[in-house]
C-alpha cells in the first residue's frame, strides 16, 4: 500500500482556489521533491496535508496508510505519523523547549500504545540527537524557538523530526534562510533519517537543497497543479532554465 496518496486534491482559502487537482503517490522509502515558483501553492499544500485550519478541501482526498486524513485534526494527523517541518518555525515565548519536546513525544507514544518516556531518559535522548545536529544545550533550555537564529530554528525542526520518528515528513522550504554550512548540517540531519520506513516530501524553490537531499522524484508545481514529474535531473533543468519554459509548455499542452 502506498504510504501517502494525494488524490485530485482541490483546496481553497476563503474565495481563492489554490490547489487545482493534485495527484501524488508516495511510497515508504521515497523522497519526493516539489518545486515551484512563488505562489504556486507549495506552502498551501504543506498546510493542507498537515491539517491547518482555514483551508477548505473542495474535492479529492488525502490518504495516509489507506486512511483518509480529511476528518482528522492537525494533532491527530501528527500522532498518526505526519510531520511538517515549518518554513517559518514559530516562536513560543514562555513555552519551555524540553517540556514542549516531551509533550510531543509522549503524545505520539501514547497513540502507539507505548509507555511515556521518563524525564531522565528523555533528556539523554534529546541531548544525543541534538549533538548530532549541532544544537547546543543552552538552546534546549530556552523557550521554543525564542532567540534562535534562522539556522538554529531549522535545526530544531529536524531535531523534532528525529524525536517524533514520523512515517511521512514534509519539509517546507527547509533551505530558506540557511547559509551553506547550516544547509549542510540540516541536510545531513535529514539524510540520516532517510530509510525504508519513511517517506519524505521536500518542498523547495531552489535546486541547491536537492544536491544535499537527493530526491527520487521531482515534481513541478505551478498554479496549484503538478505540471511535470521527473527524476533529480529535472531539478537541474529548473536551475538552468527557470520555471518559465516549463510553465509555458504546460499551458500549451
Amino acid at each position: 500500500m502506498a504510504l501517502l496518496e494525494i488524490k485530485n486534491l482541490h483546496a481553497r482559502i476563503g474565495d481563492t482556489d489554490i490547489l487545482h487537482g493534485i495527484n501524488l503517490t508516495i511510497n515508504r522509502g521515497e523522497v519526493h521533491a516539489i518545486m515551484g515558483p512563488n505562489g504556486s501553492g507549495k506552502s498551501t499544500l504543506s498546510y493542507v496535508l498537515s491539517g491547518r485550519n482555514g483551508y477548505e478541501i473542495t474535492e479529492g482526498d488525502i490518504l495516509l496508510d489507506g486512511e483518509s486524513l480529511l476528518e482528522m485534526e492537525a494533532d491527530e494527523r501528527a500522532r498518526a505519523g505526519m510531520f511538517l517541518a515549518f518554513q517559518y518555525p514559530v516562536e513560543l515565548p514562555g513555552v519551555g523547549g524540553m517540556a514542549f519536546l516531551r509533550a510531543a513525544v509522549n503524545a505520539r507514544l501514547r497513540e502507539q500504545g507505548e509507555d511515556e518516556v521518563d524525564q531522565l531518559g528523555f533528556v539523554k535522548l534529546v541531548r544525543a540527537k541534538a549533538t548530532e545536529l549541532g544544537i547546543k544545550d543552552d538552546m534546549l533550555k530556552r523557550a521554543v524557538n525564542v532567540g534562535f537564529s534562522g539556522g538554529e530554528k531549522k535545526r530544531y525542526e529536524i531535531l523534532q523530526m528525529a524525536l517524533l520518528n514520523p512515517s511521512i515528513a514534509i519539509l517546507d522550504e527547509t533551505d530558506s534562510g540557511l547559509d551553506v554550512d547550516a544547509l549542510k548540517i540540516v541536510s545531513e540531519g535529514v539524510n540520516s533519517q532517510r530509510g525504508p520506513e519513511i517517506g519524505m516530501v521536500v518542498i523547495t524553490h531552489y535546486q541547491r537543497l536537492l544536491s544535499h537531499i537527493v530526491p527520487d522524484f521531482v515534481h513541478i508545481l505551478s498554479a496549484g497543479k503538478i505540471i511535470k514529474t521527473g527524476d533529480k535531473s529535472l531539478a537541474l533543468d529548473v536551475e538552468e532554465n527557470g520555471y518559465t519554459d516549463l510553465m509555458e509548455n504546460a499551458n500549451v499542452a
Binding site: 494533532d75 500522532r79 515565548p93 514562555g94
Partner: protein, 402 residues
C-alpha cells in the same frame, strides 16, 4: 487631636459617619466605572453574630508556617498557631498608632476603609520588631462564613526597620461579602514578601483593600491571584515614602462563567530614587470580565523614579471582556515610566505549531496559557509562596471541547 482621644470606638464611629455620608459608590463614580456594586448594596450582607465552631482549613505551604485564622472576619486565637519570635499580636484597639493610620486612610474618600471599619467586630495588629528576620511565613487564613453574612477583617501590620517578613493571605470563605482592609507599614530597610490568594466561593463578593507604605530602602514583593468569587475587586494602594524603595506589585486574574475580577492599583512615588514594577496578567473565559485600573503618580520632587506597569489580558471566549485603564500622573521631569495594556486571543499560529507536533488542543491551549502567565509568576520572589501559588493556575484550567 491628642493620641489619647484615639480609641477603637472613636475610629469606628467616624467610619460609620463617613460611610453614612458617602455610602456605596455611585454609578458614575470614576473609580468604580467598570465595577458595579449595586447588587451588593441591595443585598447588604451583615456581619454574623455567632462565630464559633470548627472550620475547614485550607492547605498551607510545605515546611513551617504560622497560621492565623479569621472566621467571619474575627481572629480565632484558638485555631491559630503560636507566633514566631519577634512578632507581637495585639487587638487593634490596643494599638493607637494602628488606629491613627486606619483613621487617616478612612478620611480620604474610599469605600473599604469606611465600610469595613464601620462594620468590623474587632481587628488585630501585628508588629515585627526592628531587625527581626521572621523565621517562617505568616499565613492569614480567612475561612467560614455564609451567603447572607459579611466579614470585615481589619489587620494592621508593622514591619519594623530592617526586619524581614513573609505573609500570605488565603481567602476561601462562603461569605456574601468579604471586605478585608489591611494596612502595612514597611519600615526603613525592611523586606516584605506577600501573596494574596482570592479563592472565595462562587457566590462571594470580595472587596479587598491593602494599603502599603514603604520607608527608605524598603523592599516589597507582592503578588495577588484573583480566582474565586462572583465579583471581586483587589485594590492596593502604595506610598513610596522613603528613597530607594523597591516595589514589585504583580497580579493574575483568571475568570470563568460570569465572574468579574477588578484589579485596581494606585502607586504614589512621593520621593526620589524609587522603583516600582507591576506585571498584570488576566485570562478570561466564557462571559467573564476583567478590569485593570493602575494609577502611578510621581510627585514633583520624586526624580529618578522608575515606574513600570504592563497589563495583558487573554480572552478565551468571544463573550469575555477586558478593560484596562492605566493612568500615569507624572509631575517630575527626570523619570523613567512606562505602561502598556493589551488584550488578545490565543495565537492561531502558536496553536497550530503545537498541534502539528501531536499535542491535542486542550493541552496546547493549556501550554499557551501557562506561557502567557509565566512572566508574572516569575515575579514571585519567595520560593515557598511560588510553590503555593502555581498549582492554582494549572488547577484552573480544564480541558475544553474541541
Amino acid at each position: 487631636m491628642s493620641p489619647d482621644t484615639i480609641t477603637l470606638s472613636s475610629v469606628q464611629n467616624r467610619a460609620q459617619e463617613r460611610f453614612a455620608e458617602t455610602g456605596w459608590p455611585a454609578k458614575k463614580s470614576e473609580a468604580w466605572k467598570y465595577t458595579s456594586l449595586d447588587a451588593l448594596a441591595s443585598a447588604s450582607p451583615q456581619p454574623a453574630n455567632d462565630i464559633s465552631g470548627a472550620v475547614a482549613m485550607p492547605a498551607g505551604i510545605a515546611g513551617e508556617q504560622c497560621r492565623l485564622v479569621f472566621q467571619g472576619g474575627l481572629f480565632r486565637d484558638d485555631l491559630s498557631d503560636a507566633l514566631p519570635a519577634g512578632v507581637q499580636l495585639v487587638m487593634l484597639g490596643e494599638d493607637e498608632r494602628a488606629l491613627a493610620a486606619i483613621d487617616e486612610i478612612g478620611a480620604s474618600d474610599n469605600l473599604v476603609p469606611r465600610l469595613t471599619v464601620a462594620k468590623m467586630t474587632a481587628g488585630i495588629s501585628l508588629r515585627v520588631a526592628q531587625g527581626i528576620v521572621v523565621d517562617r511565613p505568616i499565613m492569614l487564613q480567612f475561612v467560614g462564613g455564609a451567603p447572607a453574612t459579611a466579614s470585615h477583617p481589619v489587620i494592621y501590620i508593622d514591619v519594623g526597620d530592617a526586619a524581614h517578613l513573609a505573609y500570605a493571605e488565603h481567602h476561601e470563605t462562603d461569605n456574601g461579602l468579604s471586605a478585608p482592609f489591611i494596612v502595612v507599614r514597611v519600615g526603613a530597610g525592611a523586606t516584605l514578601d506577600h501573596i494574596k490568594l482570592q479563592l472565595e466561593s462562587a457566590t462571594t463578593q470580595h472587596l479587598g483593600l491593602t494599603c502599603l507604605s514603604l520607608g527608605e530602602r524598603a523592599d516589597v514583593n507582592s503578588m495577588s491571584l484573583s480566582l474565586g468569587g462572583a465579583l471581586s475587586r483587589l485594590e492596593t494602594h502604595v506610598r513610596l515614602d522613603g528613597e530607594y524603595g523597591e516595589l514589585g506589585l504583580s497580579s493574575i486574574y483568571l475568570g470563568k462563567n460570569n465572574q468579574h475580577h477588578d484589579m485596581t492599583t494606585r502607586v504614589a512615588h512621593e520621593v526620589a530614587n524609587c522603583n516600582s514594577r507591576q506585571i498584570i496578567r488576566g485570562v478570561l473565559d466564557d462571559k467573564a470580565r476583567g478590569v485593570f485600573q493602575g494609577q502611578v503618580r510621581v510627585a514633583p520632587h520624586a526624580q529618578k523614579t522608575d515606574g513600570q506597569q504592563m497589563s495583558r489580558a487573554l480572552l478565551l471566549s468571544r463573550d469575555a471582556e477586558a478593560d484596562a485603564k492605566p493612568e500615569l500622573e507624572i509631575f517630575a521631569d527626570d523619570v523613567v515610566c512606562s505602561h502598556g495594556a493589551t488584550v488578545g486571543e490565543l495565537d492561531e499560529t502558536h496553536l497550530f505549531y503545537l498541534r502539528s507536533r501531536g499535542i491535542d488542543e486542550a493541552e496546547a491551549r493549556a501550554m499557551l496559557i501557562d506561557a502567557f502567565l509565566i512572566e508574572a509568576v516569575a515575579e514571585i520572589r519567595h520560593q515557598g509562596f511560588a510553590d503555593l501559588f502555581s498549582p492554582f493556575l494549572s488547577g484552573w484550567q480544564v480541558p475544553r471541547k474541541g
